[in-house]
């Protein structure tokens, strides 16, 4: 049998175009149905029914919403800076959509013309590309907030930029831990290394996972970090003055960011499209599609198949959906931080923790490599135990006895002082 080759030439071009269209459509569809999912899940959390009138189970609700937003009157504040006001939503939405390009979403697909990688662009700078592009999205928020000529919008835009700057650092540091283990910034290689380690990185890098999760919430401006649009303080924050489709593009950007960051979390920490077992492991190694290395160092060739591609895609979708549901769940459960608390958490807690954790992982890998331990299950297990200890220490420190051990409940007991009839009122009795 001939060695499998990647598609090239005309077929490769057509495959690329098809992937771009499909991924774009897929992301936009997910964004549309995320709005419905958010409303239905929140309704379920809150003892309500939620939208169920348009179509079966309300499934056409996103289309109705889209039509409504398209037909709505576009307002333009009289004293706004019109160019930037119009650019704001566009700048917000575009980076949110293009970041998905580097995320591999299934095992390679064999076709008549060659093997098609299930990623739009497997660029060698993978994660760096994502970090660079997602940061651009905040310009849309800041410009929109500033151009609205509205004080609430201005405050929202300022908060958005400050929050982005603070959490980009923590996010980057938590990714560094992943990169140390993966040895590369290409996302296909991150997936491959997780397959080889027999561990998804959520376990050997549990603390990085938690830091990344928190930072991703802050990056996507979701509760409990939705400072830029905190509706009880800033009315609607940076998009106070927007209406119609221009407004709709901001939520779309937010949801697209959520989808991208969920997919990224799935890729970095839950093995991407990987399923347990080595049957689906595939990686381009020196021009050969391999599934692993034999004991003597020779390669084992992989056998891609349509069913493997489909199955791994389902796995990827489920992992992404899991993070999306957690996003919704958290939003409808937690209160919102205060602006300065968000900053303090980012700079005083997440950043030093991330820094220390990178040192820990770097040291641990150095020691393990020096000991000559092969990249595999034992390697992952040692790191898992180490990270588990670090995570436990971090959580106990962060909690400081509030939620886990209930120190506030003790204060509750102290505060409620009994005062019976006939006893004269005394201050602080």
């Amino acid at each position: 049998m001939d060695a499998l080759q990647p598609v090239s030439g005309i077929a490769g071009f057509i495959a690329s175009v098809a992937k771009v269209v499909l991924v774009f459509a897929g992301v936009m569809l997910t964004v549309a149905y995320m709005t419905l999912a958010e409303r239905r899940v929140s309704a379920w959390i809150q003892d309500r029914i939620g939208p169920n009138r348009v179509g079966p189970f309300g499934l056409l609700q996103p289309i109705a919403d889209g039509l409504k937003n398209l037909l709505k009157e576009e307002t333009l504040p009289a004293k706004s800076s019109k160019l930037f006001f119009l650019m704001g939503p566009m700048i917000a939405l575009m980076p949110a959509l293009v970041t998905f390009a580097v995320i591999p979403f299934a095992a390679p697909l064999p076709t008549h013309w060659g093997v098609v990688d299930m990623v739009v662009a497997d660029v060698p700078i993978g994660i760096l590309y994502i970090l660079a592009i997602t940061s651009l999205g905040v310009y849309g928020l800041v410009l929109g907030g500033w151009a609205s000529n509205n004080k609430y919008a201005l405050l929202g835009g300022m908060r958005a930029s400050a929050q982005m700057v603070s959490y980009e650092v923590a996010l980057g540091l938590s990714v560094v831990a992943v990169l140390i283990l993966a040895g590369n910034v290409t996302l296909t290689q991150v997936v491959w290394q997780q397959q080889q380690l027999h561990f998804w990185f959520a376990f050997p890098l549990s603390l990085a996972f938690i830091l990344f999760l928190a930072s991703a919430y802050a990056e996507t401006n979701r509760l409990p970090f939705d400072m830029p649009e905190a509706e009880s303080e800033l009315v609607a924050g940076y998009h106070t003055e927007y209406s119609g489709m221009k407004y709709a593009m901001f939520p779309m950007a937010e949801y697209a960011n959520m989808v991208t960051s969920s997919a990224l979390m799935a890729t970095l920490f839950l093995g991407g499209w990987d399923l347990p077992g080595s049957w689906d492991n595939m990686f381009w190694y020196h021009g050969q599609l391999i599934s692993g290395f034999a004991a003597n160092g020779s390669v084992i060739l992989a056998h891609p198949a349509l069913w493997k591609t489909l199955l791994t895609f389902v796995a990827f979708a489920i992992k992404t959906a899991f993070f999306l549901v957690v996003y919704i769940w958290v939003r409808w459960t937690l209160p919102r931080f205060r602006y300065d608390q968000v900053m303090a958490l980012g700079w005083k807690v997440l950043l030093p923790t991330g820094l220390g954790y990178v040192m820990l992982i770097a040291g641990a890998t150095l020691v393990l490599d020096q000991l000559g331990l092969p990249w595999g299950f034992t390697y992952g297990l040692i790191l898992t135990v180490l990270s588990g200890l670090a995570t436990a220490g971090f959580l106990v420190f962060l909690d400081r006895g509030h939620t886990i051990f209930g120190a506030a409940a003790a204060r509750d007991q102290k505060t409620i002082v009994r005062h019976r009839a006939g006893v004269p009122a005394q201050a602080g009795d």
Binding site: Q46, L334, T403
Partner: protein, 425 residues
Amino acid sequence: MAQKTIEYTVGRNPEMGPGGLPTASPLEPFDIPEPQLGSEHMLINIGPQHPATHGVLRLVCELDGETVLNVTPHIGFLHSSFEKLGEYRTWNQIVPLTDRMDYLAPLIYNCAYVMAVEKLLGIEVTERCKVVRVILMELDRIFGHLLWLGTTAIDVGAFTPFLYTFEERERIYRMHEGYTGARITTSATRVGGMMADLPEGWIGELEHFLDTFPRTLAEVHRLLTNNQILIGRTQGVGAIGPEDAVNYGFTGPNLRASGVAYDVRKDNPYYDYETYDFEVPIGENGDCYDRYLVRMEEMNQSVSILRQAIDRLPDGPINNPDPAVSLPSKTDCMSDMESMIHHFKLITEGIKGPPGDCYYPVEASKGELGMYLVSDGGPKPVRWRVRPPSFVNISVINKLAQGHLIADLIMINASLDIVLGEIDR
């Protein structure tokens, strides 16, 4: 620009406050400089249309970045001239004005008003009426606190507890409707009694509510009370000490959160409140978190009072049988000459009493609610003045919010539990 300075000195009421001794601690002058245009500081209008002002309150804030330098509350957007309107109405016609003041706990206002009238005119009410009024007032204390709880949760960004509390409020609304026919504008009381006796099955519905409501409350407790984020948002925010709290005229849960165990139901009991077994929760720090805890516990105490009141609810007439006070039944009016004459005289002349004035305080959900009435012996008040707890409580918002962030201002405003209908009157 000119500075608006209002100076007033308030000594301590010897009946109130720690130690019971009057202290000479005058208020700081209420001194808010007019904000300057074109300065480094940003001037921002919060309200009257804003998601977090709980009505039509307008807060003009001077901000340095996001730090609040000054807050000037502007009130009056809901001014309805209730007190003046009352001077042109007979005693019973005023009742519908009262529930529009605090539309979040209307029955307390209904009851407080007629209790003041009854004191002024020297009218006794039956035992059953007393217990029914206690039930209604405690029910609406829960009603008012539930609204505060839900809106506070929204103001800190937790939307779900809001819907849980409004689910419970909806059940109280249905009880309002079952008894009075109206959900908000209840107008349930009449001088010398109630507009009707409790309908059949109403007490059973209330008991069912009392059985299930604590479960919802416990659920909200679990969602919020120990939540690290809520604690961070509320502890140490908007703190006021007992001295200041008394001097600013704080009453109700806001005062008790500062550590002063003053509750009209205990310190100046009415309607046999001294015989009910309940506790008055007090805080010690006077911050938003203590105000939160105090109100949460007060709801539990109200449930306990309601249970005791249901147990002791006596049979018998609900209205004062005196024909010069209570209207006869419609059947009697149609068949009995005497009754018809009484009905005619009551409707045309109203209830008359001795000239004089009276002040009657009750513990409303937001603090001490006082009704002051002056009568010249006629069927209408010469002057009707309400001592509104929210109006007094909101006056301190500048002091509480100064130096905090704008998010804290929202939290402080929520924790003061104001209702604009009563502030603007």
